[in-house]
Symmetry: C2
């Protein structure tokens, strides 16, 4: 959870600031989207820009820390679906829905997530890679049960969920996409294969 290299324990004021910045960032990104001004966020947290950037060198690093707090929730959801013993297709569907919720935690989040899929240097890359793998597991199970097409790849499904979340973003006026695009992903627009 804390990071790759343990290092020495940080100073108490540093730890306090880090936690506080995360708290404020959670609210700030919820309200302003992931592209909100970082200096403004720092001011709102009552710290200087330097302090913010020292703890989180990039916007993606800050996002990764925020998403790490949700990892547990999503992992729990994954295990619940796994042990649910439900139809593999229903399980995959449920997992994709959970991913969709995760990817819309903040407005504009799908953009850095997609970028992280192709740039492994991003702080978000590891998280994304993990969920791609989970998606592959659910997909493979569904395929083995003959409930999912064999030419579909897990990575593409993950990207498709991000894409749908991207459409949802920025507050769609009417409630068009939420259900519509979800079922489109499951069944496609065509009647016959």
């Amino acid at each position: 959870m804390t990071g790759t290299t343990a290092g020495r324990r940080p100073r108490t004021d540093a730890a306090r600031n880090r936690t506080h910045i995360l708290d404020v960032a959670e609210r700030y990104f919820t309200e302003h989207g992931v592209t909100g001004s970082l200096d403004a966020l720092a001011k709102q947290a009552g710290v200087g820009p330097g302090t913010l950037y020292r703890h989180f060198p990039t916007r993606d690093a800050l996002l990764a820390a925020l998403l790490a707090a949700r990892d547990e929730e999503l992992i729990t959801r994954r295990d619940a679906i796994r042990t649910g013993g439900t139809d593999p297709a229903v399980a995959l569907d449920g997992w994709l829905a959970a991913l969709g919720t995760w990817a819309t935690a903040f407005d504009g989040l799908p953009d850095p997530l997609r970028a992280a899929v192709t740039e492994q240097s991003s702080p978000l890359a590891l998280t994304c890679q993990g969920y791609v793998t989970t998606t592959e597991e659910f997909l493979t199970a569904a395929q083995d049960a003959g409930r999912a097409r064999s030419d579909v790849r897990g990575r593409d499904l993950f990207l498709a969920v991000l894409a749908i979340s991207w459409v949802r973003g920025a507050a769609m006026a009417d409630a068009s996409s939420p259900a519509g695009l979800g079922s489109l992903l499951r069944t496609g627009w065509s009647t016959t294969a």
Copy 2:
């Protein structure tokens, strides 16, 4: 083509600048994506920022003017598909592919396009609305022939094409999405409806 209200004929230097800016912008956006610096674009075109902003008050206005140049091409494509007398499902598929090519004319283009779908104040809104309508026509034809699911909406298909184009953007490392996501849109991941 020229605009809604005719107004009086612009001065020759104004017309020349406008055309020249469009020429340079076409190259500039191709190279730097739609988020490239507008002041840098103005400098590259050899005009002041004021001149650029007078002709195209917003980035979207500039994009709309650039896309207008491609309207003819896409309309021609639409008519070719229409009169092709092909299977309505193949026709819809062809139209969606054409839309996908259009939406990836420049890197990052899907973002303003999606925004324009929900904000009719955008200069891109009219263009988008027109293509949504065309998509609905092809979709309805396919539905009437029993080749497309009846619960699919044209607007959602249009958004889905934008979403796939969005995934493609920013140069995907491997050739994952292009075909994969396209077929996903047509048939979905599920084997049974």
